[in-house]
Subunit: 111 residues, 2 copies
Amino acid sequence: MDVKTIEACCEPLLAGALSEAEADDLAAAFKVLADPARLRLLSMVANAATGEACGCELVEPLGRSQPTISHHLSVLADAGLLSREKRGKWAWYRVVPDRLAVLRDALSPAR
Amino acid sequence: MDVKTIEACCEPLLAGALSEAEADDLAAAFKVLADPARLRLLSMVANAATGEACGCELVEPLGRSQPTISHHLSVLADAGLLSREKRGKWAWYRVVPDRLAVLRDALSPAR
């Protein structure tokens, strides 16, 4: 999966007709969210007590293999929805709320 | 594509860990938006001067075949994002803003 960083792209889709390029970018961003494992990872990181979660903590509750979890975390990080900080053997993740806001804004009522 | 109607399903994903079932439903809903042609159709219907658009008006500006447009309009209607009214030979579509709001709310900051 080729993942582009989610950028503020356009007026809300209810406020103006999307161009082809805007629609491509926005569809790619929603594709990142169109996976149940990725949504659960996002919500688990967002709800970690300290606001960050180690990749190592996320494998067991999700019940998927470690490579699968790593792949999904990479997709989320590449899209900019999670920030990643390497500490020793493991990476730690935080949600980037501004990036989710880009998608929320695209679904806003017309301004 | 098997499309379920989008229903209010859950707390915002930043406000509580999603269950597997909630994540499945939400991912399916985002999958409906994860297509550039469907996003453009949604924005074109939303921005129609009268608030509604005939399927017949949407084929040319999108530059896809009529069966392709019909398929995407059906996916959007099955998900509940568009309402459809048959008049004679053609169907007319309107955006259902409350349904988009379900997805926007799922991406809201924690309450």
